[in-house]
Amino acid sequence: MASHYEAPIRRPLVLGEKSYHDVSVDIAKPVEGKANKSWWIVFSISLAAFLWGIGCIIYTISTGIGVWGLNKTIGWAWDITNFVWWVGIGHAGTLISAVLLLFRQKWRMAINRSAEAMTIFAVIQAGLFPLIHMGRPWLGYWVLPIPNQFGSLWVNFNSPLLWDVFAISTYLSVSLVFWWTGLLPDFAMIRDRAVKPFQKKIYSLLAFGWSGRAKDWQRFEEVSLVLAGLATPLVLSVHTIVSFDFATSIVPGWHTTIFPPYFVAGAVFSGFAMVNTLLIIMRKVVSLEDYITVQHIELMNIVIMITGSIVGVAYISELFIAWYSGVEYEQYAFLNRATGPYWWAYLLMMTCNVFSPQFMWFKKLRTSIMFSFFISIVVNVGMWFERFVIIVTSLHRDYMPSAWTMFQPTFVDIGIFIGTIGFFFVLFLLYARTFPVVSQAEVKAILKSSGQRYKRIRESGES
């Protein structure tokens, strides 16, 4: 009784009359079945976008960065905007799998697998940009502190761009390990159900010989907890370091101390929006509505609302301090954002990020799947513009009016961004067909405490 007690006021997390077996069947179904026509259509579109992006990347590298819309004043624009945007999106995965684990949120069980997959695919997209925005990407390995024949020429550890290298690569590797460890019992489940020898072979390899003994489970839990404990500071530090790229500078509009936590809040905000976008479609397509319920969507909307409000406080703090500082450059930077040539981007960012999440205060709206889907897109547009506004509006007009200019993206800037979106969906679509998209082991762990059937049995006093 003691450890299995759950307050009756809590709503069930697994709907329907599910048994353990039903969970396995439901989750293994997309992996065991064949892709339908619409999957192939979407996959082809994504693949085409991806290939187009590759073309643009090859063109950039072989011709030169000059094919982008950058100029002497604005050395960073779409490249770093996209980088920060993708890194930000990746953060929700770790937040869901690590932070919500630390806070013992049972609802994370149904969404953590896909959120982590999203993290990894998003970080891969992000990781492209630091490489391709280099003028000489073939010397990219010089950022690594490797002993060499130049009298051991070393890197300077003072640059946040170098910290980025360590942050992103650590983040990707830890997320990958965390994700894979969690997948072991699920791969084992698919392996044990497989009837085709080839499939059996593949999933046997992937499952690392998981046999689910008590000792294994005990260590599995401990590893998850330790990794969650490590991933939480990691997730904060990664986006913090990304924010340092701007905040350590002396550019008005960039140099501000609130950036570290505010970028993290923004990352969680945009990441959760992306999880919502993906899961709202996925639960429908692979019929997982009983696992990813409206309550899950509602809770994600609440997180979006909270982080959106935090971002709002940060915007207002920045505006106030810009005035309060008495520094005219700082004051102008914000005046320029609001009333300069990029006012439309600023307005779009404010509307999407500050106002749109406030709709989530209304229960009707936050439990509406259509509305949540719409807002999740709006938020991601807003967060893209947030990065764009921070980067471009601060650069295009700063200290010397003689260096003021404008930014126009070229088709290559846009093509690469579209390419990363295509690549992301290629990866995600492949994932959705081959991986157990819901962590069956974890859902089974909460089935008896939070499953609808068991809650009903408890309430009727039958148990």
Binding site: S3, I250, I258, P261
Partner: protein, 447 residues
Amino acid sequence: MYTISNRLKTFSIILIVLGALGVAYGFMTSHKSLEEVKTMLVEEHAHDGGQDASAQVHTESPDSAVSGTADVSHDDEHAVHVQAQLAKRPWSAMYVSALFFMFIALGALVFYALQIASQSGWSPVLFRVMEAISAYLLPGAIIVILLAVGSHYIGQNNEIFVWMNPDVVAEDKLIQNKSGYLNITAFLIRAIIFIGGWCTYRYFARKFSIAQDNAEPGDNRNFKKGFRIAAGFLVFYLYSESVMSWDWIMSVDPHWFSTLFGWYVLSSMVVCGITVIVMLTIYLKGKGLLPMANDSHIHDLAKYIFGFSIFWAYLWFSQFMLIWYANIPEEVVYFVSRIEDYKLLFFGMVALNFVFPFLILMNSDNKRVPWFVMMAGVVVLIGHYIDVFVMIMPATVVDRWFIGIPEIGSVLLFGGLFLLVVFTSLSKAPLTPKNNPFIKESENFEY
């Protein structure tokens, strides 16, 4: 039901009396005439000169060689500054302590609201402890405001906030530009809004919490009301806390600004609140008054201390490193003055607030041992007192700081008051809430 023991009552009254004596001593010795200050400076000077005469000659000679009269007026000016710094010391000492104890109450209130808004299943058995700690918020915040404004109206040139001094503002273009925001009327209006908002929440949260106790089983109306206002309060708090930190703390250095400041103060405040919650829980549990609170509850609270200590360090480092890195003169003065004059405290608090809890509370078993958590709590509280000290003192007493009778007296004074208010509040309602929909989960909680 808890009843405050006479011993505890006497103890807190003794603290208050001792503290008041210390504060009074601080005021009696701090107001020196200009002549006294000059003699003091000459003595200090002679003392320094005796120790390393050669260094003094090199630094002093160009200045004194210019002209005799200029030197005299410069000395006078210097003495006036030092006189003001000395006069500000007892005020600042009280202000630091007042803020510190108010932080504890507000931090505990925020944690309480968070627990309610997040529908946490483990913490309801501790709600009364949190409610009691937050009882100090109203008197505590009023004391802070009285000190802030009182230091301007009582005495001469000893205000904690220089922007309240019209003579300073008259000569300071930067402060003049901010006077639309930094003026006493606006300061008071904002303070009333913050304190009003926080205390209204605390009043109704407590009311609904006790009303839920007496409700019929299954009647969750008061619980729902408590939930709603907790969410509303958290929004209000997020905004008001930022503005409060600019008003009550950041503006002691009216030339300096940092966008992160509000959240940095927030992290400090929440750590203090949680630390006192766990300490009071352990105390009550030791007396056998909180039988439902088990070592898992202590473990969870200790985890929060651990987590928020790291969060505090993260924000401390972010603010410090970004300003250090860019090294923009108008911002960096803040840390230059702190590192020059407060080096031990400035870096020492990082050890107390981060390194110590980080190493000590890492181990899961340690977090279940009451005396261990108690010890970590004491260190963390000392560390955060120093944090507040280093926020305020460099702006008021500059290098004339010392942790002596006025400072310790202030801590005793407000500490005694805090204990008295908190324990009185504790004795006004049963220690375990009833009929809270999550109370059974909380009683059965194990981790």
